[in-house]
C-alpha cells in the first residue's frame, strides 16, 4: 500500500496535547490511516517515512455501500470499547452509529500494541481514531465539492451524506471511490472540538446489545469451524502438577471418543460431544506427580509474606507516635463466565486459532513456540474472538497452546474448553499479599511520614505490558517486572510528609497474573483503609482529613461530589454506616461512598455512590456500567470471595464455594456521577475497584467499630 499526503492533524487546543499523523491509503475506496501508540513531538510525527513497513496503523475505511469499517487491535470482553470506538468514528464522520462496523484485528506484530488492558484502549486510540475519521470526512466533502463543482466550504455533512446548499445530497458510499483520489482536503481535516459533539458524550447503549439478548453473539466455542472436535483436559490435583503415567485404554474405548493426547499440562480427550469428552476424561487412569507448590498452604504463605516485611524503618525526626496497620489479601481467581477456550486448526505447516485473548501477539508466539515454530511465528494466525469476561486472565493463553498441540496430534481441528474446576484450580491468580503501613505522627496532629511495605508474590506480566508501558512512560521498558510496575503505578495522593512505598517481592511457585487494578487492588485499598484509621487516631472526620491532605484538585472535586450526592454524615440507624475512599489512576480520579448495614449479621451493602472524573466521557452509559461492575468486584472480594491453598492445591472449584456476589447481595443502587475537569480521555476499566473496596471496608469499620484488616472478611474456611 502506498501512502500519500500526510496531514499533521493537530486536534483543537485543549482537546488533546498529542498530534496524530494521518494519511490517505491507496485503495479503491476511501481509507484513511492514523499513526497511533506514539506520543512524539510533532516534528518527529510529521516525518512520513513509509510507516506501513514498520507498523500497522488504525484505519477508517468507507465502502461503496456507505458503511464505515474500523479495524481495532483490541479485544471486546464486555468493557464496551466496540461501542465507544463506533461512537468516535460516527461523531467525526457525521454518520449513523449503526453505519460503523468495528472489526477485531488478527494478531500481527506490526501492531505496535495489541494488548487489551491497563485501562488503555480509549486513552490511546481515541486521538488517532478521531483524527482519521475527521480526515475521512474532509475528503468525502471535497469529493462532493468536485462532483458538484461547488466550494467545499459551503457543504455540510449529516447522517452519512454530504449536503449542498441547494438541497442536493450525496451518500458517503457514492463518494467513497472519488474520495480515495482526493489529493488535498479542501475543508478542515481536524477533529471537532468537544463542544460540537452530538454522539460522543451521549449515554449510548452498546452496539452489540441485540446480538447478546437474542443469543446471536458468538464466543469462541460458539463458532462453527467444520470438524472441530470438543476437547477437555484431565488436569492434576495440585497446581502445575505433572503426569507421571497414565492408562487411557478404558477412555479410548468409550462412545464418541476421537483421541487421547498427552500434554505438558495434563491429558486431553477429544470426542464427538463435550459430554463424551468429560466422561472419557473421568475414565482416564492417571498417576500425577505433585506440583512445585505442594509444600505450601495458606499458613505458610502468610508466614512467608509476613517475614518479608522486615524491621521498621526509623521514623522521621520529631515523630511522637507511630501508628501501624497490617493487612492481608487472598489469592483471587479471575473466574470469567466464559472459561478458557480455544478452537485450533493445525495443518502440516500452518496453524489457525480462535480465542478470546487479551494479548493476541503473545498468543501467537506461545502457539508458535509450542509447535516448534518459534522462528517462523507467521505460520500461526490468531483470530481474537469476543470474550466472556477477561479481568486480566486472558493475557495468558494456555488453552490456545493446548488446542494447537491436540489439533496437530489428532490431525483435525479441535475446540478445547477448560472446565470451571480447571479455571479455578489451574489458573493464574491475583497473588495474596501482606501489608504494613506505618504512619508517623508529630506534634499538633501533624503527619510526618507514611511508610507502606507490601509483600507480594511475583506477578507474571505478559510481554505486551512492556510495549504498552513503553508507550505510556515514554521510555523503553521491554521487560516489565513487578518492581517496575509497582514503581510506575503506586502513589499516595496525600501530603503525608515523607512518603515511601516499597514492594517486597516474594517468589512463590504459584502462578500469578495481573487482576483488575493490579497492585492497586491491594496497595491502594490498604492505603485508603488506613487513612480512615489515621482519621480515628487524630479524631478527625475521614472526609475532612482527606480534603485537608489531598494534593490533587481532581480528587478533591470527586470527593466533594460524593459527599454531596451521598449525603455524607446523614443520620443513620445503629449498625448502618457510611465509608468513603478515593483513587487517582490512569488519568482518571474517583471517589466512592458506600453505605453498609451490619445489623443482620452478614454485612449488606445498601447503596454505593460514585463520583468519577474520567476527562472526556465518551459513553457515559458504558462508563457507568464499568464502574458498577467494578463495585460488585470490590464488594465480592472484600466480603466473601477468596481462594484457599491446601498443600499446593486451590480449594475452591466453582461459584458454589468461590462466593462472588449474587443478585440478592447487590445494593439497591449504584449511582455514578461524572465530574469533568478537562477533555483528556482517562482510563475506566480498572478505576472503579480500589476505592470501592476501601470505602466498603471503611463503612464496615464505622458500623462495627473494628477496622477490617483481612480479606475476605467472611472467610469461613481459614
Amino acid at each position: 500500500m502506498a501512502d500519500a499526503l500526510p496531514t499533521d492533524a493537530a486536534p483543537p487546543g485543549g482537546l488533546d496535547r498529542r498530534r496524530f499523523l494521518t494519511w490517505l491509503v491507496a485503495s479503491p475506496t476511501l481509507m484513511v490511516a492514523a499513526r497511533w501508540g506514539l506520543d512524539l513531538p510533532s516534528a518527529q510525527a510529521a516525518e512520513p517515512s513509509a510507516p506501513e513497513e514498520t507498523s500497522l496503523n488504525l484505519y477508517v475505511a468507507v465502502r461503496t455501500d456507505g458503511r464505515v469499517v474500523t479495524t481495532l487491535p483490541r479485544t471486546e470482553m464486555g468493557q464496551g470499547i466496540t461501542t465507544a470506538v463506533a461512537m468516535l468514528v460516527a461523531e467525526e464522520l457525521d454518520t449513523g452509529l449503526d453505519s460503523v462496523d468495528v472489526c477485531t484485528a488478527d494478531a500481527d506484530p506490526r501492531w505496535l500494541i495489541q494488548l487489551t488492558g491497563l485501562s488503555s484502549t480509549m486513552r490511546y486510540l481515541a486521538g488517532p481514531l478521531r483524527a482519521a475519521a475527521a480526515e475521512a470526512r474532509a475528503r468525502l466533502v471535497t469529493a462532493a465539492a468536485h462532483r458538484w463543482r461547488l466550494l467545499a466550504l459551503t457543504l455540510t455533512t449529516a447522517q452519512g451524506e454530504v449536503h449542498a446548499p441547494d438541497g442536493r445530497t450525496l451518500g458517503y458510499g457514492e463518494l467513497a471511490e472519488d474520495a480515495a483520489r482526493v489529493l488535498l482536503p479542501e475543508v478542515s481535516p481536524l477533529p471537532k472540538s468537544p463542544g460540537e459533539y452530538t454522539v460522543v458524550g451521549q449515554p449510548t447503549g452498546r452496539v452489540d446489545a441485540r446480538d447478546i439478548v437474542t443469543g446471536a453473539a458468538r464466543y469462541t466455542l460458539d463458532l462453527d469451524i467444520p470438524g472441530a472436535m470438543p476437547t477437555v483436559v484431565a488436569r492434576p490435583p495440585t497446581l502445575r502438577g505433572t503426569v507421571q503415567s497414565f492408562n487411557a485404554s478404558t477412555a479410548r474405548a468409550m462412545p464418541g471418543v476421537v483421541g487421547v493426547v498427552q500434554l505438558p499440562s495434563g491429558v486431553a480427550v477429544a470426542a464427538r460431544t463435550f459430554a463424551q469428552a468429560f466422561a472419557a476424561r473421568d475414565a482416564l487412569q492417571i498417576t500425577w506427580a505433585p506440583g512445585p507448590a505442594s509444600h505450601l498452604s495458606d499458613a505458610h504463605i502468610r508466614a512467608r509474606l509476613r517475614d518479608a516485611i522486615g524491621p521498621r524503618p526509623l521514623p522521621p525526626l520529631l515523630t511522637t507516635r507511630v501508628v501501624e496497620g497490617r493487612f492481608d489479601f487472598p489469592y483471587l481467581a479471575h473466574a470469567p463466565m466464559e472459561t478458557q477456550s480455544c478452537v485450533a486448526r493445525v495443518t502440516g505447516d500452518t496453524a489457525e486459532v480462535w480465542s478470546g485473548v487479551q494479548d493476541p501477539k503473545f498468543a501467537r508466539s506461545q502457539v508458535a513456540a509450542a509447535l516448534g515454530w518459534a522462528l517462523t511465528p507467521q505460520r500461526v494466525t490468531v483470530h481474537p474472538i469476543r470474550a466472556g469476561g477477561g479481568f486480566g486472565r486472558r493475557f495468558f493463553t494456555e488453552a490456545a497452546v493446548e488446542a494447537a498441540l491436540v489439533s496437530r496430534s489428532l490431525g483435525q481441528p479441535v475446540k478445547l474448553m477448560w472446565s470451571r474446576n480447571d479455571e479455578m484450580r489451574q489458573g493464574h491468580y491475583r497473588p495474596a499479599s501482606h501489608h504494613r503501613i506505618l504512619a508517623s505522627l508529630g506534634p499538633g496532629g501533624s503527619v510526618l511520614g507514611w511508610h507502606h511495605r507490601a509483600a507480594i508474590p511475583t506477578v507474571e506480566f505478559p510481554h505486551g505490558f512492556g510495549d504498552l508501558l513503553t508507550a505510556m512512560a515514554g521510555q523503553v521498558l521491554p521487560d516489565v517486572t513487578s518492581a517496575v510496575f509497582f514503581a510506575l503505578t503506586q502513589h499516595v495522593p496525600y501530603q503525608f510528609g515523607w512518603v515511601a512505598q516499597e514492594l517486597a517481592e516474594v517468589p512463590l511457585p504459584i502462578p500469578t497474573a495481573s487482576f483488575r487494578s493490579v497492585f492497586t487492588s491491594q496497595v491502594g485499598v490498604a492505603n485508603e483503609i488506613f487513612v480512615d484509621q489515621l482519621a480515628r487516631e487524630l479524631q478527625r472526620d475521614p472526609v475532612e482529613l482527606r480534603r485537608s491532605r489531598l494534593k490533587s484538585r481532581r480528587l478533591k472535586a470527586v470527593l466533594d461530589r460524593v459527599v454531596l450526592e451521598g449525603a455524607w454524615g446523614r443520620a443513620l440507624p445503629p449498625g448502618v454506616a457510611q465509608g468513603v475512599a478515593v483513587l487517582e489512576e490512569w488519568d482518571s480520579a474517583i471517589a466512592h461512598l458506600v453505605e453498609v448495614d451490619v445489623t443482620g449479621g452478614t454485612p449488606r451493602v445498601l447503596r454505593v455512590v460514585i463520583a468519577a472524573d474520567v476527562g472526556l466521557p465518551i459513553n457515559p452509559k458504558g462508563i457507568e456500567a464499568q464502574l458498577q461492575g467494578a463495585a460488585l468486584d470490590a464488594m465480592s472480594t472484600t466480603l466473601s470471595a477468596g481462594l484457599h491453598i491446601d498443600a499446593g492445591a486451590v480449594r475452591e472449584g466453582s461459584f458454589a464455594d468461590y462466593r462472588w456476589l449474587r443478585m440478592k447481595h447487590a445494593p439497591a443502587s449504584i449511582q455514578v456521577h461524572l465530574v469533568r475537569s478537562d477533555d483528556r480521555v482517562g482510563g475506566v476499566g480498572e478505576l472503579g475497584y480500589p476505592s470501592a473496596a476501601a470505602a466498603l471496608a471503611n463503612a464496615l469499620a464505622r458500623a462495627t467499630g473494628t477496622m477490617p484488616t483481612r480479606f475476605p472478611i467472611l472467610d469461613e474456611g481459614a
Binding site: 447503549g205 446489545a209 439478548v213 464466543y219 473466574a335 463466565m337 452509559k621 443478585m663 445494593p667
Partner: protein, 162 residues
C-alpha cells in the same frame, strides 16, 4: 442408538444419542444451538438457563432422555415474528449486558419469573435471580430491566406466549 424427540423453540427435533447425554451438549454440539452457555456444568452458575415446558431449568443438569416429548425453549426461541420479547427489549433499554456471556441465562430466568409473578418486588427478584451468576456485575441493571419488562408486559395489548 435411541432417538429422542422433543420440541425445540417451537420445532420438532429428533436426536440420536445416549439417553443420559446432558441436554446442554445435545443443544450445543449436536444441534448447533449455542445460546445456552457452559459456565460450570453443575447447575451453580445459570449460564445455560432455558425453559422446559415454560419453566426455568438448567440443560446442564438434565439429560436428553428426560426432555423427550417435552418442549424446550432456549434464548434463540424467545423472540418471535413480531419482534423481541419484552424482556429482551428491556435488557436493551437498560443496556444490561457487559460481556454478555451469562445474559441468555439471565433473560430466560427473568422471563420465567415474570410469567409466575408479573409484578415482582426487589425481594422477589433477589429470590428468583440469585442462582444466576454475572461476573461483570450487572445485577443493578438486571433488576431495573426486570421492572421495566414487567411494565411493558402489563401495558402490552398482546402478551407473548413465551
Amino acid at each position: 442408538m435411541p432417538a429422542h424427540s422433543f420440541i425445540l423453540n417451537g420445532q420438532p427435533v429428533s436426536v440420536e444419542s445416549p439417553a443420559d447425554l446432558p441436554l446442554l451438549w445435545v443443544l450445543r454440539d449436536m444441534l448447533g444451538v449455542t445460546g445456552p452457555k457452559y459456565g460450570c456444568g453443575v447447575g451453580v452458575c445459570g449460564a445455560c438457563t432455558s425453559h422446559l415446558d415454560g419453566e426455568s431449568f438448567r440443560p446442564c443438569l438434565h439429560s436428553v432422555g428426560e426432555v423427550a416429548g417435552h418442549e424446550v425453549r432456549t434464548i434463540e426461541g424467545l423472540a418471535d415474528a413480531t419482534g423481541l420479547h419484552p424482556v429482551q427489549q428491556a435488557w436493551i433499554a437498560e443496556d444490561v449486558a457487559q460481556c454478555g456471556f451469562c445474559q441468555p441465562g439471565q433473560i430466560m430466568a427473568a422471563v420465567a419469573l415474570l410469567r409466575k409473578n408479573p409484578q415482582p418486588s426487589d425481594a422477589d427478584i433477589d429470590a428468583a435471580m440469585s442462582d444466576n451468576v454475572c461476573r461483570c456485575g450487572t445485577y443493578v441493571r438486571i433488576r431495573s430491566a426486570i421492572h421495566r419488562a414487567a411494565l411493558l408486559l402489563r401495558s402490552g395489548a398482546s402478551l407473548p406466549e413465551r
